[in-house]
Homo-oligomer: 137 residues x 6
Amino acid sequence: MAQVTVWRRLRFNAAHRVHNPALSEAENKRLFGKCNNPNWHGHNYELEVAVKGEIDPVIGYVIDLSTIKEIVEREVIDQVDHMNVNLDVPWLSGVNPTTENLVVRFWERIAPAIAPAQLVTLRLRETENNYVEYSGE
Amino acid sequence: MAQVTVWRRLRFNAAHRVHNPALSEAENKRLFGKCNNPNWHGHNYELEVAVKGEIDPVIGYVIDLSTIKEIVEREVIDQVDHMNVNLDVPWLSGVNPTTENLVVRFWERIAPAIAPAQLVTLRLRETENNYVEYSGE
Amino acid sequence: MAQVTVWRRLRFNAAHRVHNPALSEAENKRLFGKCNNPNWHGHNYELEVAVKGEIDPVIGYVIDLSTIKEIVEREVIDQVDHMNVNLDVPWLSGVNPTTENLVVRFWERIAPAIAPAQLVTLRLRETENNYVEYSGE
Amino acid sequence: MAQVTVWRRLRFNAAHRVHNPALSEAENKRLFGKCNNPNWHGHNYELEVAVKGEIDPVIGYVIDLSTIKEIVEREVIDQVDHMNVNLDVPWLSGVNPTTENLVVRFWERIAPAIAPAQLVTLRLRETENNYVEYSGE
Amino acid sequence: MAQVTVWRRLRFNAAHRVHNPALSEAENKRLFGKCNNPNWHGHNYELEVAVKGEIDPVIGYVIDLSTIKEIVEREVIDQVDHMNVNLDVPWLSGVNPTTENLVVRFWERIAPAIAPAQLVTLRLRETENNYVEYSGE
Amino acid sequence: MAQVTVWRRLRFNAAHRVHNPALSEAENKRLFGKCNNPNWHGHNYELEVAVKGEIDPVIGYVIDLSTIKEIVEREVIDQVDHMNVNLDVPWLSGVNPTTENLVVRFWERIAPAIAPAQLVTLRLRETENNYVEYSGE
């Protein structure tokens, strides 16, 4: 059977501060510049979720897109949307919320929740000029 | 010689109904919801075609983009554009036209027509929030 | 008080056939070409709704965007999304569903429903290359 | 001489909280929902600036785009980018930072700074689904 | 009858040099910087054409989009696409090809060719960050 | 440690002529059509740069995006932006500037300059309908 990858985009708006609490304020300022503003800044994030598998011959889908949507909203979007990802999300507590760190934490929640369907890539876009991709390696 | 992948986007507008004729109307309605509307709905589809190969040292192309365009228009776009993909396309007869099923059928027509150039990926976008990718596996 | 215009985008996917029932099939075919396919085709439509007014000093909004969303979904989107606009929508019955005719019929439903807020423009996009604007004139 | 309108887009990323300090916390929560999160959320804002005038016959511009850029960066972008617009910007102190209120305050700074060139419209986009326009009325 | 505005986008790729031949090389360099490179640079231009009028009750269009396309291609696109607009276009001879000057020259060709339909706005986009609009004033 | 891929987009505007100097003018005209215009044409190019690696536990980045930006601007963007890539760039001298050939030459400069960080893909977009990808194979 053909193996197809299905991509679904979801969006959220959040505040964050790039900050490593193990370092001094001065060191944080030096490393992260304006992204370290103690009063936060924020982004319109886009999260793209890729699930790969055989096409189910009965429904013609690899996975119903509404299933992806429900799982990703429950596990990630509803918990980070209109939130401060440094302060408001228990499972991000103590995490320096760079796009890299966020995408790995999102993977840890989405991959098991979507199984046995196979999550193959997460793409997290922070601005029109930058995004990260993670495939669980 | 360097191996480069060339992507060309083409577009078409079509009507469809997500429907498995082997199932009852009630079961189709339950599985596919509003996508099963018996009077059809439709989309602006985007098809992205990736061909990979060595750069030809004479022309500096992997493949002339106009060659991709002509083949994909002849094999797919001209046959589905402004059509009902459930009713109007002989080679889609009996196919439940999910994005997954469409992309595999498109591959079966484009891959041999474009050979010996190597089709490596098809990406078929149905809305701004979802698309599928197929690499012939 | 400052007069500001607020724009909200909504989307729907629909099937249609450009067809004037007062004309012969041959004349329709001549006038509308592939857009006249009797088996329909379809689009991802984008509707942008502009409301103009003073900023309410208590809430800081001209109008809550969720109010626009609820009214436009109830009056238009929920009735045309995943529908055939020639067949499934009573208030479009007998209308040749060109983008121009659709935008005027949408105005006739949204403008009174959103009053006393002032609808100033509707923009209806059919493809990435064409859209229409209507301001009630 | 021909009158042409020149548009320049600039971007900034900021945190905010939609909140009217004259109202109770409960009332703010009721009016603004998740946009009232006391720990802030944020956006990738896009500001489009329109200047209208005659084409200068020597330079062929209405106004050099780098002049627009320098003025808008100095007056607005550099002061709000990677900032919390509720806390970090003196000239927004006490303002409920809805998109409507922001665009008017931006106008008050840009219009005199860009004179004698004529600012005719500001467009401020908060998400891909909503933006506001202000023309100084 | 309702007055609707129809917009059609067309694209072209061209080389140009921002240069006023009445000025010295040094003055051109000072005024236009890198845009004055004597060996040219180039852009993917987007031209959006707006025609306003009553909806024709027989066809349901203000104007057939294919009519706009044919006229604008004949009058402008086919003459500037893959061209050097300083060197290759007789009706741009001696014009300093700023976006402002181009849009006015395009208007002078499209407006009479599209009459009696009423051209109301041309929008010419040079990059994702800047465009100009002209309405014949 | 998690392996994440970071993408950064940069843009430049350039003139070019698709032309193989080893062939006759007639043969060039036949092979490359309007892209062979001797007076040049041009594009708004987008270059996307992907770097893959472990997340640095101190900074939470694979690589600071400003490091990518500085290196790619120094090695490529500043040398091709607002330039004629056939005439103005010593390290492109004699290269037929197809998108394929450009992306390979860009790789040869960026990959060593960004080491020990690992450049994994370059994507070079010429128009909204076509782009190429190169991964150093």
